[in-house]
Subunit: 258 residues, 2 copies
DNA sequence: TAGAGTCAAGTGGACAGGCCACTATGACTG
DNA sequence: CAGTCATAGTGGCCTGTCCACTTGACTCTA
């Protein structure tokens, strides 16, 4: 029961104190209290401001750091992240949602075609169950888990562990890249949801054991995901991001023509 | 300079201790030490195991929590977040050379097609230089490095970091899997070499900016790699491996038909 | 014998205080 | 005005502590 400025909700799935502090700081950033590139108040000052311990502030800072929102520099301070630098050497941090989804389009399309050639009845049934889970869970964590399961089950239906592993890695790239997570959060906030029809079309192609139809359905599905990424950017962006999205559209059109 | 089990790199962009602990735990999860749904060792035990403070372990757990990898439950423990149920086998150790090469066939075929659509003159020249390196270096480490560079340069020519990353990961799977390494050693001992003609065909398709020809050439190249894997098995194998190779041939024929 | 209640141990959440190492800034000197 | 140095301020990591929740073992009663 700390005497902090946050309401004490209780144990059951109550957000932890560091999460409350982190969210309060995110709100301040979004409200323009701290501009990108600006330095946040020092840890000790934030601890006093929020009436929590310095360790709790440090935990909140770690949460912001993992989310790609802030960056702590020893001896200097904590800074609001500018737009993520483009030319760093860490691929995971550099990989945007468009790139991840385009890679998924190429690779999961082929995985779906191969799966359609050899899929078992058990795997068909498993996918059917996942479709029901998806229908029952939209826009929540269970739905996202079912979405992931759906795609990875298709990859596993190829009977090839390397293919399944690659699809898992591409899914996990979404969580490892702060840029990705932020954009998928934006897409969700803009009301974008996994389209049940798309998944059903994929499922039907697999059930019919039609490789070409499975590839086409997976391509269409991920084309729409790419569209929603670009749409989310447009609905939430400054002018620069708009022009980037526009040039992305042209580039997407060119790349999708193959 | 704590006496922890991690090497002290130094201040300049050195990863923080909590990051090292978090990554070590992620590696353990990926290696199957902790299955999805399993409980991790308690914070105090992990602190002893990694020879860091409990606060550092808590910070690492927050990083894993934000990344969606683990979930801390007060009074109960820290649990690996559920994922789609998988065999308890570790995928990397289980992945054979056939699976890796088949995955490469699917994915690098598509990468080559996309690269053919948008490749630059610089990348064409770089590939030309790598072809010369390949011609000058057969059956040695420099040749293998040039082979890897050739394929990764094609992936990078797509302009998509996620695609390039996946191709790198597939290449590196060869080294991480003892089964893979042994088989590629066998292929080399049986006199199997990367075919220069194949690489030249791929290069010419890229130079002509012909996506279909690039996909076809990459498929043919990797089909021959698969053939050589099977041939090496046959020339070096016990009877069981022969029947496996024979059934693999039938399976390969079925899978390649899509 | 099974179920309910109790209690202790084990667990994570949060805190206080401390020290180290790095960075930034200001004062001083040449 | 540039360079140097000292100091204050900063984040990184630590130790120790206490609180609140969960879990499992044990006991008692029907």
């Amino acid at each position: 029961m700390p005497n902090s400025k946050f309401t004490d909700i209780g144990p059951h799935n109550a957000p932890k104190l560091y999460q409350k502090v982190a969210n309060a700081i995110v709100a301040s950033i979004r409200n323009g209290v701290y501009a990108p590139g600006a330095r946040l108040p020092p840890e000790r000052d934030l601890a006093q401001e929020f009436d929590v311990s310095r360790a709790t502030v440090r935990e909140a800072m770690i949460a912001l750091e993992i989310r790609g929102i802030a960056e702590a520099r020893r001896g200097s301070g904590i800074y609001v992240v500018d737009a993520p630098p483009k030319d760093t050497n860490t691929p995971e941090l550099d990989i945007g949602p468009f790139e991840v989804t385009e890679a998924r389009r190429l690779f999961e399309g082929e995985a779906a075609a191969l799966a359609a050639a050899i899929i078992t009845e058990e795997e068909i049934e498993k996918l059917s169950g996942l479709l029901q889970e998806l229908a029952a869970n939209t826009d929540n964590e269970a739905g996202e888990k079912a979405d992931r399961n759906f795609h990875i089950t298709i990859a596993e239906a190829t009977g090839n562990s390397a293919i399944a592993r690659v699809v898992e890695i591409l899914w996990d790239m979404r969580y490892e890249s702060p840029m990705c997570r932020e954009m998928f959060d934006r897409a969700r906030n803009a009301g974008v949801q996994p389209r049940h029809d798309d998944h059903l079309t994929i499922f039907n192609a697999l059930k019919s054991r039609d490789p070409k139809a499975a590839r086409r359905a997976m391509h269409s599905h991920l084309d729409r995901v790419i569209d929603s990424i670009l749409a989310a950017t447009e609905t939430d962006a400054v002018e620069k991001a708009r022009s980037e999205a526009a040039s992305k559209r042209m580039e997407v059109a060119r790349r999708s023509a193959i």
